[in-house]
């Protein structure tokens, strides 16, 4: 990134500081950028009904990571698609131009879209709406680490808000590994210099996992520890999500 800048003076962008920070992380008395404990998640905030035009929507805020998800449908599949007995799920994750510290293009994120699809697919009872499509549009307003887990949790809340049949709410949490430490719910700085990451998407009240993503170097005992950590956090996260839905349910009734 920085190498390019030498040849042609490009437009100004804040110099990436992550490289310099890296050695600091190996110290014994390292503290996380936002002062959390290693096994402590950021405070989570959920709200349903953020978008009026959608059939269901939700807004989620984990520290500085802010995400809005809207769900449309179920509506009739496009004609070009083949007949199918089960419903289709169509996911799209995009970033705003101002989502990252360096002003970007605000483009679609195909990898995240595919991962979101895989994560939600298992939680939805697709048999309940044959021949139709459900569209899930996620927009990352501000990206500050652990974007995908936040998007997934928020999307499951939006689906519930849209009245779509689901086996259970889907909650997702990620863990970063640093040599011998495990850090839950990493922020952007930590994600940039992690040795490996583990993301679990699960349905806590059924104790089923819909997606598990592992990258980087992991030893078996460490992966066990990481998974346990994630599952515990997912269960707690689901509790917050449920209380948000409960609140919305009691509000909308007269």
């Amino acid at each position: 990134m920085a190498g390019k800048g030498g040849a042609t003076p490009a437009t100004y962008s804040p110099s990436p500081t992550t490289d310099k920070q890296k050695p600091a992380l190996f110290k014994e008395d390292w503290v996380r950028p936002d002062g959390r404990g290693f096994h402590q998640c950021r405070p989570a905030f959920f709200r349903t009904g953020a978008v009026n035009a959608a059939s269901g929507s939700a807004y989620a805020e984990f520290g500085n990571t802010k995400v809005i998800v809207s769900v449309f449908g179920p509506r009739e599949s496009k004609k070009a698609m083949m007949y199918s007995d089960i419903g289709r799920l169509n996911c799209n994750v995009s970033f705003t131009t101002f989502a990252t510290p360096v002003r970007g293009q605000g483009s679609d994120h195909n990898e995240y879209s595919a991962m979101l699809h895989k994560a939600l697919e298992g939680g939805i009872i697709l048999e309940s709406f044959p021949k139709t499509t459900v569209d899930v549009f996620a927009l990352v307003l501000e990206s500050s680490g652990s974007d995908l887990p936040v998007v997934i949790s928020c999307a499951s809340l939006a689906l519930a808000d849209a009245g779509i049949m689901m086996y259970d709410l889907v909650a997702s949490v990620s863990v970063s590994s640093f040599s011998k430490n495990l850090v839950i719910d990493p922020v952007l700085e930590e994600e940039n210099c992690q040795d490996g990451s583990l993301m679990i998407t699960c349905m806590p009240s059924r104790y089923e996992i819909t997606q598990l993503t592992v990258t980087g170097e992991w030893s078996s005992p460490k992966i066990n520890e990481g998974m346990q950590l994630c599952l515990d956090a997912c269960a707690k996260l689901a509790k917050i999500m449920r209380s948000c839905l409960k609140e919305a349910a009691s509000d909308s009734k007269e």
Partner: protein, 327 residues
Amino acid sequence: MRGIQLPLSQTQKVRLQKALEKLESISSKVNSAASVIIADSIPVNHEDGVLKGHGTIDLNGEVVATICGVVERVNKLVYVRALRSRYKPEVGDIVIGRVVEVAQKRWRLDINFNQDAVLMLSSMNMPDGVQRRRTALDELNMRCIFEENDVVCAEVRGFQHDGLHLQARSRKYGKLNRGQLLKVPPYLVKRQKQHFHHLEEFGIDLILGCNGFIWVGEHIEAKDDMVEDQVSQSDPQVLLPNKNCLSLEEQEKNYTILETRKYICRAANAVRVLSMLGFNITLEIIKGIIDLSISMNLDIHEMLGSDFCVLVAEKEVERRSSNKKKR
């Protein structure tokens, strides 16, 4: 936050809060214990044997909800009524839809359901009112009847193998023009004996579609259904849809006088206020709101202001409590 989104002053907020609380106390039958969210287990008495209905699933012998909503029980049947969901058609419902596509012998209509509805050429009365077989020529002339994006009123006929079918076998159904289409959440429109209303004092028509689409338009005199076979049958020809090249004469015929237009807007705003507050939409209430706004000498645009909304909420409390006393 899906609540009511209005810029309210402090006193207005208090008044609205009070009104809503009163409404809650009037409708006492709602018990919040029955509301569930996804993956909540629904307590049932297994000895009697239960029938699991919509929105429930069996998990290790427990009945578990799969949607957010309210638990309803009918004898052995346990089901969950969703809080918010798309429109579920029932046979005989009067719906309003928008033409999505003109296809072989049929129109596809968006009626706010999971799937598009089908209106067959053969299941609607021809504009000339003659009962006969539909010929290939009629098929070619389909665009003269409805085009894409036209607003159409029809009745739900039932589910056939290829989807939801509609019919429009009377003069009151058909294309709607010279008016406004409003979209409200479908649960606000309850099934009633009458969905077509003619508000004589204002000269407007009001159609409450069960699918949450509401039509407010100029009153159109329903002509006699059966017109005798007349001379016009002489030379069948392909007609061209001539929407954009109306003659002056026709334009004059289609002209809606200002007074009527104002009433249309007033009625439309009444519906908007109701959907904003989340009240059921019926003729009686809409009429009440229009009268209220006229008696207060409000401009049409002022009807959407927060002050008027609060007032409507308070009126609704009065109405419901007086209804209750009568009973």
